[in-house]
Every structure is written in C-alpha cells, then in structure tokens.
C-alpha cells in the first residue's frame, strides 16, 4: 500500500487551476521526486498535503486515512514533516530552540513542562551534529547564513520522527559542496526507513537519488517512471523546453 495517496486532487486560485485532477502515489521506503516547470503545481501539492491549503475536491490519504480536512499541526503529528522552498526559521530564537519547538507535546499538562527537556536537547544536538552545525546551537537563527538555515530546517523537521519527509527544493540556493552533503544525508535517512518526497529543479540530485520521478505540468501528472524513462520521455522534454 502506498504511504501517501493523492486521488483526483483539484485546487484553483481565482481563475488559475493550480492543480487539476492530480493523482500521485508515494510508495513506502522510496525517494520520490516531483519535477516540472515553474507553475506546474508542485508546491501547491505540498501545501495541500500538509494542510496549509484545502483542496477544492479530491482525496489525500496517508497510511490509508483521509487527511484532507485536518489542520496542519494534526497532519504533522500523524508523521508528515516538511521543509519550505525558502527556509522559514524562527529568527529571534536560538538554533536549539528552533529544533526543540518541533518536538511533540502529548498531553495538556506537558504544555507547562520545561520548554527544553534533557532528552530533547540531546536529541536536538544529535541531529545538529548529523548535519554538522552543533557549534551554532546557541546562536540566534537570524544570524545564520542561508546554507546553514537550510541545514537547520532539514535537521529540525526530523525532531518529530516523521514517516514521510517532504523536502521543497532542498538544493535551492545551495553551493555544490553543501549539496553533496545534503544528498548524502537524504540517502542516509532513507536507508533508516524514512520515506521521502522531494520537489526539486536540480536534475543532478533528482536523477542521482530518486526512483521514481514524477513529472508535473499544468497542475497534473505528465509522466512517471525511473529517472532514465523520464529523461527519455518526449512529453517531459516538451514541457520543459516548449515545442
């Protein structure tokens, strides 16, 4: 069974049909890439899945359960975490606080417990060392460079131990050395059993690590297959290059 199943999804903004009759299924344990020209509806799909937008029609199923009308925090708590195309960090808070804020509160009274429990701090430090920025733990996140913010966001969404990790352009604005390290981290996470869905324009990254690749255009799925199949697909080339 697919971990995430999108069926007949529609969403329009005013007169623009951003997503139209879109069907995507993300298999458990795989790295799936979502590619397509600008305006194809990839980020809209992300926003619909994570509950930031609600669909006009269609169904979104996670582990077989319908999540269409849940609120974003409920979806996160079910096991879906996401990063943003342009990183969103909590500027006036430290890197460590940015991490810990993502860990879950279980009951009502937990809310009034200490903001940073010992085990949470340890877990956060482990994840920061996973991406190599432990030395910045007590720095306010607004002082970080863009690349460091990318790493922070990547590490912080792992705090909630997601089953499905959705990365919106993890390579965007990142230099080649950092890119290598991000790719390694994504592969390593996947080996640990995290299912990953990536929106990405960097074809090197897409073709190197993902299978399958899904190509979207005009709000719907144009083609789906192995990296090789997508590279050879005439429709995909046309969508990117025009006719």
């Amino acid at each position: 069974m697919a971990l995430l199943e999108i069926k007949g999804l529609n969403k329009s903004f005013g007169g623009i049909q951003a997503v139209s009759d879109c069907n995507i299924s993300v298999e458990k344990g795989k790295i799936t890439s979502l590619i397509g020209p600008n305006g194809a509806g990839k980020t809209t799909v992300f926003n619909l899945v994570t509950g930031l937008l609600s669909p006009d029609s269609g169904e979104i199923l996670f582990e077989g359960k319908k999540i269409n009308h849940l609120q974003p925090h409920q979806i996160t708590r079910m096991g879906i975490s996401r990063t943003f195309q342009i990183t969103r960090d909590l500027q006036e808070m430290t890197v460590l606080e940015n991490m810990v804020v993502q860990s879950q509160v279980h009951g009502f009274w937990d809310m009034f417990g200490s903001s940073m429990l010992k085990e949470e701090e340890e877990r956060a430090m482990d994840l920061l060392s996973f991406v190599g920025i432990t030395h910045l733990a007590h720095e306010k996140s607004k002082n970080l460079s863009y690349g460091q913010k990318k790493l922070l966001e990547f590490a912080s969404v792992l705090m909630s131990e997601p089953k499905l990790l959705m990365l919106d352009e993890p390579a965007g604005g990142v230099n080649p050395t950092l890119l290598e390290s991000i790719i390694d981290r994504i592969v390593e996470l996947n080996k640990k059993g995290v299912t990953i869905l990536i929106v990405e324009h960097n074809m090197e990254l897409v073709m190197k690590i993902s299978d399958p690749v899904i190509c979207m255009a005009y709000g719907t799925v144009l083609a789906q297959g192995s990296p090789k199949e997508i590279q050879d697909n005439q429709q995909v080339l046309e969508a990117y290059l025009g006719e």
């Binding site: 994570t50 930031l52 609120q71 974003p72 925090h73 409920q74 996160t76 708590r77 996401r82 943003f84 969103r88 960090d89 909590l90 500027q91 006036e92 808070m93 606080e97 810990v100 804020v101 993502q102 879950q104 509160v105 937990d110 809310m111 009034f112 417990g113 200490s114 903001s115 940073m116 912080s156 909630s160």
Partner: protein, 343 residues
C-alpha cells in the same frame, strides 16, 4: 616546577572566577529580593509612623499596572498579538466583585480569585472569536471591545450606568485602610510575574514565541496555534481580573469612565513596550519608570497636561535608542545589569 606554578596560577584564576560568579549570582537574586523585602515591610513603618500613605498609594498604583502589563505580556509580548483592550478584564473583575458585594456582602478580598477566573473565561470566549484575525484587524477588534463594553456599562441599569456603583469604605482607621489592599496587590503581582516566568520557560511559552515569529511555521511544526493563542489570551486576563476586584473595592466607586477607556488599555501596552515586551522584567521596569516620571512631572508642574507631553517624549526617545525596550535592548547588547535579568 614551572608547570606546578602554572597550575597553581590557574587554580587561583578559576577560584577568582568562581567567587565572582557567586557574587554576581547573589546580586542577581539578592537585589530583587531585597526590594521585595522593603516593599513587604513598608506598611509596618506606616503603622508605626503613619506618614507613608502617599508612598503606599503610589506603590499600589505601580503594583496594579505591573499586574496588567505583565499579564498583557503573555499574549502581546510572547505571542505577538497586541491587544489594546486588556482593561476590559480589569473592569469585569471590578464590577463582578462590586456587584457581588452589594448583593451578598461577600468581601471582594474573597471573591477576587473568582473574578479572575471569570475574566479568564471571558478572555477565552473573546479569543475564540477575535483570534481568527491577526495584525491590525485584531488590534482594532480589541479597541472595539473596549468601546462596546463602555457603551454597555454606561447604559446598563444593573451596573449603575454612567454614575457607576458606590461601594462602602473599608472599616479601618484611615491610617491602616490601604494596608490590606497593598498586601493583596503585592502578592498578586509577585504571583503574576512568577507565573509569566514559568509560562515563558514552558513548552507553551516556547510555542507562543514561535507563533510570534512565524505562525505558519509554528503550525507546521505541530503546534495547535489557534488553541494556544486562545489559551494565552484567556490566561492573560486571569490576574487582571483579580486586580480589578481589589482595585474597585479600594477606589470605592466603579465607573466606565475610569475602567473602560481606550487610554487605559493603551497605557498597559506602552508601559510594557517601554520596559521591553517579551521579557519578564520589562513590564515591571517600564511601569515603574512611567509612573515615577508621570508623578514627578505632576508634582513639579502641577496637574497640567504637561505630564502627558513629557511621558510621550520619553517614550519616543527611549524607543529611538532602545528599540526593543529598556530591558530587551540592554540584554541584546549584553549590558543588562544581572539583577534585572529575570529571563
């Protein structure tokens, strides 16, 4: 030999550092506790000497405003939702306890905690509606609440309309009459500031701060933002409601023109911003300075409107050089004296 010397030297240095950090810790906790002890003992001098009534009154005024600013800080400072209507909680507490007293003779000292819970309940209800909005729409909705309440209380027979309600004076000689109110407000103020500390350092507080930075990010991080904002708004009414009940009984008259003005709601916010919103000591420092300056100008220049001009100018100049408030900006520059660093 040389190595040994170096080690001894190091030990000496470490020792000195340890002593210094002990002293600074002592100052950090000692000075606020000393001030608190003086505040707690002041009425004893009043009982013996009988000359401190003016000071007692002024300090009660400070306590009251600290309670309001420190409470406001929970929603306005931590979560970043500026409410200009927090004096509504104050009015609710005062009117509830006053009316209850007139009907049943239950002392406001006893009913004050209930008044606080009532104010909190009202805050939850209002938050449920108003916190669907944010930014300027939210601010305007809180001003509308004040105006609406003033209109209601001005015209409602039960609350005495514009004439308000008159409550009897406390049955104590004038020399001692202020003292029970003084202690009540002092205790509520300490509880309120301590509560705001614990809220700031809880998961709830961290989540509120996340909301103030980027609400969408907070929501996606798994925080039920709407629920938390409503709870913060309600909690911020609790201590103000208690203070209202006590203050109403102290004043002995309740009128919409005292409790339900936009300028009162605004001054709660301005005091907090002056001291540093989002910090624990900020509301205390800001309130103390504002009231002291205002009182000084009134004493020197008489009850002209000049005090308003002076406090306005001070606010402008302070915020020009301390954009995050006095405590906030000093802390950001690492120049905050340790005894004011309560975070």
């Amino acid at each position: 030999m040389a190595e040994e010397l170096i080690q001894v030297d190091l030990k000496g240095k470490e020792g000195a550092i340890r002593v210094r950090s002990k002293v600074s810790l002592w100052l950090k906790r000692g000075i606020p506790l000393l001030i608190l002890a003086i505040l707690a003992l002041l009425p004893v001098f009043q009982i013996v000497e009988g000359t401190l009534n003016y000071w007692i009154h002024m300090l009660m005024y400070v306590f009251l405003y600290v309670i309001m600013s420190s409470s406001w800080n929970i929603i306005g400072g931590f979560a970043g939702y500026v409410s200009l209507g927090h004096n509504v909680f104050f009015a609710l507490g005062a009117y509830f306890a006053g009316m209850l007293f007139l009907a049943t003779r239950i002392s406001p000292f006893i009913s004050a905690p209930v008044a606080g819970l009532l104010a909190m309940g009202f805050g939850l209800l209002f938050g449920l509606i108003a916190l669907r909005t944010r930014g300027s729409t939210f601010i305007i909705s809180t001003i509308a609440l004040v105006l609406l309440m003033a209109e209601l209380f001005d015209n409602w027979k039960l609350t005495g309309g514009t004439n308000g309600l008159a409550l009897p004076l406390i049955d104590l000689p004038g020399q001692f009459a202020k003292i029970p109110y003084y202690y009540y407000l002092l205790v509520v103020m300490v509880l309120c500031v301590v509560a705001s500390y614990f809220i700031k350092h809880s998961k709830f507080g961290l989540a509120l701060r996340a909301i103030s930075q980027d609400e969408t990010k907070a929501e996606v991080a798994g925080i039920p933002t709407r629920k938390y904002k409503i709870l913060a708004f309600g909690l911020s009414g609790l201590f103000i409601g208690v203070a209202g009940a006590v203050w109403g009984s102290y004043l002995t008259y309740l009128r919409p023109s005292i409790f339900l003005t936009v300028s009162l709601g605004t001054s709660i916010v301005l005091n907090t911003i002056l001291g540093g919103k989002g910090t624990i000591a900020g509301p205390v420092v800001g309130t103390a300075i504002m009231i002291a300056v205002n009182e000084f100008v009134v004493a020197k220049l008489g009850a002209t409107e000049l005090n308003i001009v002076v406090t306005g100018l001070i606010l402008i100049f302070v915020l020009l050089f301390f954009p995050e408030g006095i405590v906030g900006s000093l802390k950001a520059r690492n120049k905050l004296p340790s005894f004011l660093d309560w975070d």
